[in-house]
């Protein structure tokens, strides 16, 4: 059973970068989202993220679907409050700080595209190896890797169970939404039973395969190259400039 994966199995400039560098850049992105001085920076980050995602060869349909999924955030956080203010005759929304609303709305897109560009170019094994390379405690590395496996394996189970339910006459279809909601409960039973059975056997297997959760060498890491360093420097540099623009005026009393 094939399930949708976060990892895009292609070869691109970003795919070839060291996972440790990409994880560090991911951390930089998170800090940047809280540091960006204004909505123009956030817009630039969104555009850059989109460009990098395309460069990372993420399928355009996936990009569109994921962006549409976060659209309710933009509508809820920006469009509706903006509309309410304007309809109420308040032409300086967000207490006169439109920049805040736009920054918040664009932050979702920037976060989506930038993390997609970085994480979709690393297989789960590379992500956990990158974490090990950064000396993150093994239980956390194991937890991340195992979460990916459980997520994909559970999705595979659920897809198979949905198929099996169809053969029992239980369908999930948009044409009959109320009936489908009722049928979801039917799907719940086998899905949970399969996962519960899986849990017991998995725990036993992990014990017998010697998973100690204390140490484990990384298997896929090579040497960090010049391009990796350059990319990290660019990311950290951009963060530093953004932070300066955001905090320097206040610190200098300007």
């Amino acid at each position: 059973m094939r399930v949708p994966l976060l990892y895009t199995e292609k070869d691109s400039f970003l795919h070839r970068r060291d996972p440790r560098i990409k994880l560090l850049l991911f951390a930089v992105v998170i800090v940047f989202l809280y540091t960006a001085p204004n909505w123009q920076w956030m817009l630039a980050a969104s555009v850059l993220g989109l460009a990098l995602s395309i460069a990372a060869r993420v399928p355009p349909l996936v990009l569109l679907v994921l962006w549409l999924l976060q659209l309710p955030n933009f509508i809820g956080l920006v469009a509706i409050p903006l509309g309410q203010d304007l309809l109420a005759g308040n032409f300086s929304p967000f207490d006169g700080d439109l920049d805040f609303g736009l920054k918040l709305g664009l932050a979702w897109s920037a976060a989506l595209f930038l993390s997609l560009a970085l994480l979709s170019t690393m297989s789960p094994d590379k992500i956990t190896d990158g974490m090990r390379g950064l000396k993150i405690p093994e239980p956390l590395c194991f937890l991340v890797g195992y979460s990916f496996l459980l997520m994909y394996a559970s999705m595979s189970d659920i897809f198979r169970t949905i198929d099996a339910m169809k053969l029992k006459g239980i369908e999930l279809t948009i044409r009959r939404p109320i009936e489908s909601i009722g049928n979801m409960a039917k799907l719940f039973v086998p899905a949970v039973i399969i996962m519960a059975r899986r849990a017991g056997t998995m725990m036993s297997t992990l014990q017998l395969r010697g998973f100690s959760f204390t140490h484990r060498p990384a298997t896929t890491l090579g040497a960090v190259g010049a391009a990796d360093i350059a990319l990290l420097v660019a990311g950290v540099g951009a963060l530093a400039v953004a932070a300066l623009m955001r905090f320097a005026p206040a610190m200098l009393g300007l």
Binding site: S123, S156, A164, K166, L167, K168, I170, M202, S204, R209
Partner: protein, 619 residues
């Protein structure tokens, strides 16, 4: 190496112990075969030996147990993990990594084996288990077929290099080549480790197991040298285990001894005593088996007709309940077909062809088997038959309905399907409710916006459930039990009964024999004969060719998504089909392999038994 005395285990919230008074002694390098019916306690024994019960399940344990100088139930987990390996029957749940290669490398990395050495060893193990063709670095574990997952799990267990390896019913989903690979692997491994092999396919234990343990209701029903117990019909019957095929042949042919191997059978048949006893003036054992009590003076039993196209009818001569031999009825191509597949192909979005240009037809009352090795395209074809997958090209018609034009749920009204994993289908809280679920779902019909009329009464549902239960042979004391708490074999029977309750025109069974014990397999054979008589078209997707040879009327042999042979079981599995079969990872049915040693073209035990004496007389 393994010593157990009065071993006991009772799971939480149960009164009946799952293991009671089990005594066992196994020396280093020995192979212990474990057999018994469903729910006999085989898996509990395996988990006890590996220290997993009561550690992961809870429960009360008792008795003494020592495996590689420690009590695995109480020893620290890392110590147990370094000594004992276990491969579970549940193939999917024991995969812990994303990719195939990392799955097999993980146990070695956990034991501080250098990365490069671990990778080389993992590749070697995977190659040894027939998985070298896979993209090992990128293939995800959940995308593998059941048989491939089982092989990866075996490789991962071997990677830890344990001193004791426990294999819990691991060959059920493997194709015949895979089973043979496991058999030779067990032989090799026995030279450097101690093995406990739980197996439903008892022929795999012949020549491999040193000791045989027969369990029933958690207790030892027999324990002793495998060479003796495997031919002890009383002990085998008591443990509800089918005898090995050579023993079955000898029994069916009425031979005085119970040879266990082909070599022994050859010597017994060739012995002067037997030849003398075959003379017409001496009272003879029956040609078709010991159950026929009357002496048989004639020894030239009629040979079954082969290679005549058309549907099959049962040959008239056997009076005992031995399946087959079957001969063909006159051809009648004008019969309406219940299943019509015309030049069907299926490709995945990435262009990989799973099925290519397959065509087949199944008439009402015909049992058709789709066979092939792991990865041959059987599962994809099955998913097309029940409407879950639409073909990329070509047409699939089931009971006259084009699968492109109706949903799987609509198709399910006349096409019943029992999937390989019964857990995917079970939703109800009792066996009775589960079997009747498909009918209850259709018991009313909408007659207006807020109106429904009852079209199937509760009595009709109860009767249909009883009929299905009787057909499948589910013990009646299970009817009010929670189906998810039953053994996997019983859950499978429940799923089959659930598929039959609508009295479908077509029944599709995906690997029906996996996880079933001897009585359940016998019930399955009876079910298939009954369905044939009732006019139900049956499609079995199976790689157990013994079952197919005994029960199918027609066969389609798939390899790499293409049909490489089709026709009667004789045409596909017999001497004429050997060339096509050899190209796949399948091997002829076991009876055919035995028959080949005598130069006889027979594919079932019963057929072989009818031909043994004439062949030997010519000698």
């Amino acid at each position: 190496m393994i010593t157990a005395q009065s071993l006991e285990l009772t799971y939480p919230e149960t009164e009946q112990p799952s293991l009671a008074g089990v005594d066992l002694q196994l020396n280093a390098g020995e192979v212990l075969g474990v057999v018994g019916p469903m729910g006999a306690g085989k898996t509990t024994l395996c988990m006890s030996l590996a220290g997993l019960v009561p550690r992961t399940t809870g429960g009360e344990f008792g008795g003494d147990l020592e495996v590689v100088d420690l009590d695995p139930r109480q020893a620290p987990v890392p110590d147990v993990a370094q000594r004992i390996g276990l491969v579970f029957e549940d193939y999917a749940s024991q995969l812990t990594q994303i990719t195939v290669l990392s799955e097999v490398m993980a146990p070695m990395l956990n034991h501080d084996v250098p990365v490069k050495q671990a990778e080389a060893e993992a590749r070697r193990l995977l190659s040894e288990l027939g998985l070298a063709r896979l993209d090992l670095e990128h293939k995800r574990t959940w995308e593998l077929s059941g048989g491939q997952q089982q092989r990866v799990a075996i490789a991962a267990a071997l990677a830890a290099d344990p001193q004791v390896l426990i294999l819990d019913n691991i060959t059920g989903l493997l194709d015949p080549d895979g089973k043979e690979e496991i058999r030779s692997l067990v032989s090799q491994l026995s030279q450097r480790m101690t093995l406990v092999v739980v197996e439903q396919d008892i022929d795999l234990l012949v020549g491999v197991a040193d000791q045989l343990l027969m369990l029933r209701d958690g207790q030892v029903s027999a324990l002793g040298p495998a060479d003796q117990l495997l031919r002890d019909l009383t002990a085998l019957d008591d443990a509800q285990v089918e005898p090995p095929v050579v023993v079955q042949v000898a029994q069916a042919a009425g031979l005085p001894d119970n040879p266990l191997t082909v070599e022994e059978l050859t010597s017994v048949v060739q012995s002067p005593d037997v030849m003398e006893s075959a003379a017409p003036d001496v009272p003879q054992p029956a040609v078709l088996g010991p159950e026929v009590s009357a002496p048989v003076p004639e020894i030239d039993a009629p040979e079954p007709e082969v290679d005549i196209p058309g549907p099959w009818i049962r040959a008239p001569e056997p009076e005992v309940d031995i399946p087959g031999p079957w001969i063909r009825a006159p051809e009648s191509d004008d019969r309406p077909k219940a299943v019509e597949i015309d030049h069907v192909s299926f490709a995945y979005p990435d262009g990989t062809m799973a099925v290519q240009d397959v065509a087949l037809r199944v008439a009402p009352g015909e049992v058709h088997a789709i066979v092939g090795g792991n990865g041959a395209g059987k599962s994809t074809l099955l998913r097309m038959l029940c409407g879950l997958v639409r073909p990329s090209s070509g047409t699939v018609r089931m009971d006259g309905k084009n699968t492109r034009e109706c949903s799987p749920a609509e198709l399910a009204r006349t096409v019943g399907t029992a999937l390989q994993n019964p857990d995917e289908q079970i939703t109800e809280r009792t066996v009775r409710e589960e079997i009747g679920d498909a009918l209850r779902r259709r018991r009313t019909r909408r007659t207006g916006w807020f109106k429904r009329e009852v079209v199937i009464s509760d009595e009709q549902i109860a009767e249909a459930v009883d009929r299905a239960v009787e057909l499948v042979g589910i013990p009646t004391d299970l009817m009010d039990r929670d189906p998810t708490h039953l053994s996997r074999g019983h859950r499978k029977l429940v799923a089959i009964a659930g598929a039959l309750v609508l009295d479908p025109a077509v029944l599709i069974l995906d690997e029906p024999r996996v996880s079933l014990d001897a009585p359940a397999r016998a019930a399955l054979r009876r079910l298939l004969h009954e369905l044939r008589d009732r006019g139900t078209a049956v499609v079995i997707v199976e790689h157990d060719l013994d079952l197919v040879a005994e029960t199918a009327d027609t066969v389609t042999l798939l390899d790499l998504g293409r049909v490489v042979a089709s026709g009667s079981p004789h045409a596909v599995f017999g001497a004429n089909g050997a060339e096509a079969l050899a190209k796949t990872s399948l091997r002829p049915p076991r009876a055919a392999q035995v028959a080949a040693a005598f130069g006889v073209d027979a594919i079932t035990v019963a057929e072989l038994a009818t031909q043994l004496y004439p062949v030997k007389q010519e000698v």
